[in-house]
Symmetry: C2
Subunit: 224 residues, 2 copies
Amino acid sequence: MYVTVTGDQDQPAPLASISSKITRSPTAHLKAGAHLYFEGDSVKWLYQIKTGVLRLTRMMEDGRRQVIAFGYPGDIVGFPSDGLHHTDCDVLEDVCLQPYRRSMLESGHGDPQLHYDLLQAALREISAMQDHFMMLGRKSAVEKVASFLCVLTHRVGKEVGGYTQVVLPMSRGDIADFLGLTTETVSRTLTQLRKSRIIAIENIHTVIIRRPQALSSLSLGDRT
Amino acid sequence: MYVTVTGDQDQPAPLASISSKITRSPTAHLKAGAHLYFEGDSVKWLYQIKTGVLRLTRMMEDGRRQVIAFGYPGDIVGFPSDGLHHTDCDVLEDVCLQPYRRSMLESGHGDPQLHYDLLQAALREISAMQDHFMMLGRKSAVEKVASFLCVLTHRVGKEVGGYTQVVLPMSRGDIADFLGLTTETVSRTLTQLRKSRIIAIENIHTVIIRRPQALSSLSLGDRT
DNA sequence: CGGGACATTGAGGAGAATCAAACAGGGTGG
DNA sequence: CCACCCTGTTTGATTCTCCTCAATGTCCCG
């Protein structure tokens, strides 16, 4: 998932469940901290996330890291390029995964509908990544963090006592590496949002959205 | 094309020509300055670039712009998401395009091989975009500009008197919006590379790579 | 020759990074 | 059960990269 806002909030939700006949393999379960695959591994399966959260990362030789995406329920991860994975993927929060053979993506012979659905997922991925470019290249720290919270609100926010609660299973460092910032800047920005009463920080991994409208404005760059 | 370097320089060149039987439409020609499509347009065709250069952009309400990619010969542009274009696309340098019906991507009925090739192109696109994330999120101005020149060198560099010549059909502003910088920073960085004798600026749209090795080092963040 | 668009250069400032220190909080072992 | 430690987070002070604003320069075209 590419946590970004670019105007139209409610892009169609990712397919809740991909259609299929009996081409389905049994679901897989993995604990937080487990690795699903590494950069360079050859791709045998794609995975649709049923529950839990994944993290996709790339590294530079000198250790700089970029979190490419967080994978949330509905998302599909593992698209191959030249048959290989180009990110590392590991588990942030215990996941249940529906695996699909790579061949289901690459040829329609097995199950045309599944083939089509996987292809559409790949195309949506491209579009989502384009949004994320704007975030990385053109948004300020506050805008980035606000965008991030905004999208999480829409995707995994839970109503609690009139407010929306968002759980952040990833570390501040993960968020930083996703947004192109440092841990310190993410932390400071969250504090700043808290002090301006736009959010409340229930605990390190739980945020309450107190003024969603203000948050959304910030994410788009309103100076007001 | 996502002009980035992440270690392995010579990723497989984009398919020089996509296989096909008679499903081919006649090629289209467009002059510099022409628009191929706009964000929100419904996708009827994909295009493979035969010659010339395209620019893909997205805009924010307040006018901030992100150049998503430059399209060079071999590249395919126009991948739909929910049937729509999510970027503007216009012509930087007169192009000759091979159009393919969107249906060729979305179903294999017409021409399975073409369908497969278009799908692979989409998957390569995803991988290339992931590289570009690292560039936007984690690289310094010098690293970005060096990376940009490096990749252009490999893709469209011409040998001239022992050195490699690279033509930049886009403006400094385009480069800036692609790399997440300002025009001024791009200009200053080019001057800096020129003064350190890594490049020479033949004219505004033509650069000579004098020390490719040094350029490559810079692009990866060597401080030396 | 003059105008306009684009590029370069400079001075100054803002925002985020860096460096460093205090602060949770959760898990372990005594 | 509590003290301790380890890791991750917050906060502060300072630095530095890149942006902003402004002026000048260059090239192309009528």
